[in-house]
Symmetry: C2
Subunit: 397 residues, 2 copies
């Protein structure tokens, strides 16, 4: 049987590639410290589960296609509190940020179109974009420059007649890069001047560590036609399993095209939407505590990396990831070796090798992504294992 040429261009998740090796290592009795996955360990606010328990309708009906009104209200208020106003019909609730991205790409991309995305980038973008017949055109960055990309000359050099949109994951996954307000302004200006959509994937908005006010591309009301904000409760409230996200835009043509897909898939899960609305009742102390915890973890990881000779890594400003270049020949081989041959008191460590985060072939070979989602003591041990592993790996040759 023949399969679509588009699905053939897509791959399985690189984050799961080492899963069989991890299973084998565990079967040998190894304890693995996981720095490879972005599943936060923070508790989901109890408001979610209370709302779920209080649901009293006897028929679990379809929700309205654009979302349940109480959740749309909650999202609207959340943005109003950030000094950005969206009308209710400028908010479409989606099945996670993932569906928000898929719907947006399906609305705006045709065969042969290109989307500019700074590399390294979230690998699932590739599946979402390739499926439309378009492709990702990477904006190159480097570990030496701290993976920063918001430079007019650098970006305009990549724009061509096929370019339709720029995706800014801000704060960045996998890099932790956070745009300054000037850089955000610049990105909007470039989008406006070149008639491009600018898609702000802002899943990690709350996770900024320098006391910055929370940012969004939604602030730039002058770029109303260009800006599309992708939102989600997943990381904001440590509610990844709720699968509740949103598309926000002031471009009404986009919204009415997106509505076609919202209606075709009927609705987003009813209970999860109602419970997600309740999440927006958490107070600022919730975010402050979570931010403080991740900041401590980030500082641990960065301090530990600074002690390893030959590692290139700038202190990331946001999200709960960082990319680092290691003094190894090949991060893939190194990961495999860590799982198959290395151990220290029975322990080893996993990260996500960097190459699949790049669109340019060959880049990222000695880089890794670290997700700092472990508790303090585990994180310290994991980083020590990484340091020991690098030393042993390079000495064995």
């Amino acid at each position: 049987m023949k399969f679509s040429s588009k699905v053939k261009k897509c791959g399985l998740s690189p984050m799961r590639k080492f899963h069989p090796y991890a299973v084998a290592a565990e079967a040998k009795g190894r304890k693995i410290y996981h720095l490879n996955i972005g599943q936060p360990d923070v508790e989901t606010p109890p408001q979610f589960f209370e709302a779920v328990r209080n649901f009293s309708q006897s028929v679990l009906e379809y929700a309205p296609s654009p979302g349940v009104p109480e959740l749309i209200d909650a999202v609207q208020k959340y943005y109003d509190n950030l000094n950005m106003h969206f009308e209710k019909d400028e908010i479409l609730i989606t099945t996670g940020g993932s569906e928000a991205l898929s719907i947006v790409f399906q609305c705006i991309l045709d065969d042969g179109d290109e989307v500019l995305i700074p590399e390294p980038f979230y690998p699932n973008y590739a599946t979402m974009v390739n499926t439309t017949g378009a492709s990702i055109h990477p904006i190159p960055t480097s570990p030496e420059e701290g993976y920063r990309y918001a430079d007019r000359a650098k970006i305009e050099a990549q724009i061509n007649e096929h370019t339709r949109a720029i995706v800014c994951t801000n704060p960045g996954n996998p890099t932790g890069v956070v745009l300054t307000p000037e850089e955000q302004r610049l990105m909007c200006d470039i989008a406006k001047e070149h008639n491009l959509f600018i898609i702000g994937d802002e899943a990690y908005r709350e996770f900024v560590y320098a006391g910055e006010p929370l940012q969004s591309f939604g602030e730039y009301a002058d770029a109303a036609e260009n800006v599309i904000v992708i939102d989600t409760v997943s990381k904001r409230f440590s509610a990844c399993g709720a699968r509740v996200g949103a598309i926000l835009s002031r471009n009404h043509e986009l919204l009415s095209e997106a509505m076609k897909y919202c209606q075709a898939r009927l609705s987003v899960a009813t209970l999860d939407q109602i419970a997600s609305a309740a999440l927006y009742n958490v107070g600022p102390e919730y975010f402050a505590a979570v931010r403080e915890e991740y900041k401590r973890r980030r500082d641990t990881v960065v301090a530990k990396l600074a002690e390893i000779p030959g590692v290139v890594c700038e202190c990331p400003k946001g999200a709960f990831y960082l990319m680092a270049a290691l003094p190894v020949d090949d991060a893939d081989k190194f990961q495999q070796w860590l799982l198959e041959e290395f151990e220290d008191n029975g322990d080893t460590v996993m990260f996500a090798p960097g190459e699949p985060f790049y669109g340019t072939p060959g880049k990222g070979k000695n880089e890794i992504r670290i997700a700092y989602v472990l508790k303090q003591a585990d994180l310290e041990r994991a980083m020590d294992l990484l340091a020991l592993g690098i030393k042993a790996y390079n000495e064995k040759k």
Copy 2:
């Protein structure tokens, strides 16, 4: 800003087209009997809500991309009880039957490909198929033949070098047609001989009213490479708002292509999956009671239609819909008139006009789809209103 040529080929839901007229009629004090929507009024089994209330994990984590193990187990056992065995890795849990369909179409369709679907068909198929760059090639049927389509000559006449798959909605939405075992066998044979996928959209499997055993294309293990079953808890358990469905297939290449999309969207809502697993604990008395209730409703609708002069309608064998040809010039105009000008003691009625269920332009103009999802007394009143409306509409001219 430019939008995708594919989204431009898609439309908004035809079921929602008359929503503004309904709002205006209600504002005038009219009571509307809704035969236009497929939202069952049957209570969701309490097992769903019990499972939700008993969820005790403190972090609502991502579920595994192929689905939570307890739900995959439950689905496997359900099929084993129907004498069809699927391995656990032959079951992928999806966000409703809608996502199952979208993923399958994305896996198998390229620009210019065609999918054979008997018309009238579920209109959302068009959005899902058009988005891949392929198109629906309708298999024509007629109200006079009871919308039956499983005829070798009729189907083979529509197969060409672009044909990639046949979709059988069985039992049928909007027609209520149920394939006989011989017809199912024939459809599988045609798919095998012409090297086509056969997609069984079996959302209404439990809703058959002649005492037939429950059917599935999954029975035809000899067509393992061809058969893809689309499943969902929505109608089976009156849990439309859970958004939990599944792809089942023994074609392992299809499954591994589909897994790319499952991983790219990360997971299906965790709580809804766990609660849906609990739904599979309902006993056969649940299905028997629901089936009996819908059968009574179907009989009411069919009997009432038989009393209206000029209506063409065969008694449907399954689902909770039927299509009928009315003695009116245009079902769209008739619906608008019913909402704007007609009333009987302040009441009026809504159905879904038939044209959007057709792929062939101009077909279905005097047809309607009736969803018999109202309680007995309401259903009788709704059908009386339809009869009165037809008479008054035709007399006014």
